[in-house]
């Protein structure tokens, strides 16, 4: 028994030495342009480029672990990956289970609807949001007179918006602009009302999620984000996907 244990310890320390240079990162693959699946099955997008840049900055090799959004926090907690880079907003609620680095971007939230829709017409109307997001919390807190409809993904929100089942949708401005308004399906739709960035709901932006006891890794990610901001690496990735700098305020 002792021998087996010794062998197992030796094996595991070997594995640790090999893993030291590698960091497994949970990504989603269904949230363009941040994270999408290519025909080859590879995941590409802003989140993935940022993940690779951060890992390189930290002197590590990143391996992408594609995970369904609904299972992404459990996957981190059970060690399927070491970090989540999936446009996940930093919120108090999530902080009770996992920890976050500093933000790596922060884009405002807004409403979209058919052309001609106005913010003062919202009372009693049906608004779609993706379930379990900050946008759901924001709508519940700030627009109690609106009927909310919850969806598993942002695309189902768009499908029901074009089908006329909902009057408007609330979500991230970049994701909705890129994912819907600038596509053929979104031709007759537009942003209306204000853009919102309320810290109480919208928080500090999207950060890298890590397990609560991984403070060292968390701090490394935070430092790496500032480093790629300073080196211009961030700007070159940003410009590949967006017209504006999505980092938000410094």
């Amino acid at each position: 028994m002792k021998k087996i244990l010794l062998a197992a310890t030796a094996l595991s320390s070997l594995a640790m030495a090999a893993q030291a240079q590698n960091v497994n990162i949970c990504v989603e693959g269904a949230y363009p342009p941040f994270s999408s699946t290519e025909a080859s099955g590879d995941v590409v997008g802003f989140d993935i480029d940022i993940a690779n840049a951060l890992a390189a900055e930290m002197g590590m090799e990143a391996t992408m672990v594609k995970t369904d959004w609904d299972g992404i926090i459990p996957a981190l907690l059970e060690g399927k990956c070491d970090a989540i880079i999936a446009s996940m907003s930093i919120t108090e609620e999530r902080k009770q289970v996992i920890d976050f680095s500093a933000k790596y971007y922060n884009s405002p939230a807004g409403f979209i609807g058919a052309e001609g829709m106005m913010a003062d017409m919202l009372d009693g109307k049906v608004v779609g949001v993706q379930r379990g997001t900050i946008h759901q919390d924001f709508m519940e807190g700030e627009f109690p007179n609106v009927e909310l409809r919850l969806y598993g993904s942002q695309d189902e929100v768009y499908l029901d918006l074009t089908a006329g089942r909902i009057d408007a949708a609330m979500g991230d401005s970049i994701a909705m602009d890129d994912g819907f308004l600038s596509t053929d399906a979104g031709a007759d739709y537009a942003f209306f009302g204000e853009m919102y960035s309320v810290p109480q709901y919208h928080g500090e932006g999207a950060g890298v999620g890590v397990r609560q006891d991984d403070t060292e890794l968390r701090d490394k990610f935070s430092a790496a984000i500032l480093a790629i901001r300073a080196s211009g690496e961030y700007a070159s990735i940003n410009d590949k996907y967006f017209e504006i700098d999505i980092y938000g305020g410094e």
């Binding site: 363009p32 699946t37 099955g41 059970e78 189902e156």
Partner: protein
């Protein structure tokens, strides 16, 4: 449409995962179902109670809950056990977690299918064979099993059709099956309808192929008995 053609190899890879998962789960379900049926028919009190608990719990809990429990809960157990033994992280495979969950669930349904088929073979036939001097195993092989298979086939085919569809729930643990990949691809190129339509036809195709196979099997077992009787 171009997008769909471009993504076809990826979707085919997903279809292969779906089918291998379903077949592996069917093998496991068949084993569990046979054991369950034997336990229910000829087991002692304890065995019968155990099988009863198995079929009741499994048939009462949604597939999704069981799969999440087995994949994430199983990983937690492995992590805890690993830590206690000083072993580094051991990964629980998504594929085998999916097979375990679906096989475990449909084993419960097959238990009832097999038990029902066994009950349909008249006890008088077994008694007659025994009185001719045949041993229990001979009776099983020559009298009970051929008829049991015949009676069980329609129910078995039915369970298979439901099983292959229920493999779609494994995409929640990130396994890249047909539905999971079509979902990701559809969202990535923003044509979810197109990709789900493709999935619709793929599943219809699976159903059609399995139906043909089971029809052939049913004919085989029906004919054989007919010609034996003549």
């Amino acid at each position: 449409m171009e997008n769909l053609i471009e993504y076809t190899p990826l979707l085919l890879r997903g279809a292969v995962t779906t089918i291998s998962l379903a077949l592996a789960a069917l093998v496991m379900a068949t084993l569990l179902g046979s054991l369950g049926a034997i336990g229910k028919i000829s087991g002692g009190r304890m065995t019968r109670a155990l099988v009863f608990a198995y079929t009741t719990i499994v048939r009462g809990v949604p597939d999704l809950v069981l799969i999440l429990l087995i994949y994430f809960g199983g990983q937690r157990l492995i992590n805890i056990a690993g830590k206690a033994m000083g072993v580094e992280y051991i990964e629980l495979s998504k594929f085998w977690a999916g097979v375990a969950a679906i096989g475990f669930i449909y084993g419960a349904y097959l238990t009832e299918t097999f038990r029902g088929a066994y009950m349909t073979v008249p006890a008088g036939q077994r008694e007659a064979a025994m009185s001719m001097g045949m041993r229990p195993l001979q009776v099983l092989r020559a009298v009970t099993l051929p008829q049991l298979i015949r009676f069980a086939l329609p129910g078995y085919a039915n369970v298979w059709q439901v099983l292959i569809k229920s493999t779609a729930v494994v995409s929640v643990i990130g396994l890249e099956d047909l539905v999971g990949l079509a979902n990701d691809a559809g969202k990535s190129v923003r044509e979810p309808f197109l990709f789900f339509t493709a999935v619709f036809f793929a599943y219809l195709f699976f159903t059609w192929v399995s139906q043909s196979i089971f029809n052939a099997a049913e004919r085989r077992y029906a004919l054989k008995e007919h010609s034996d009787a003549v």
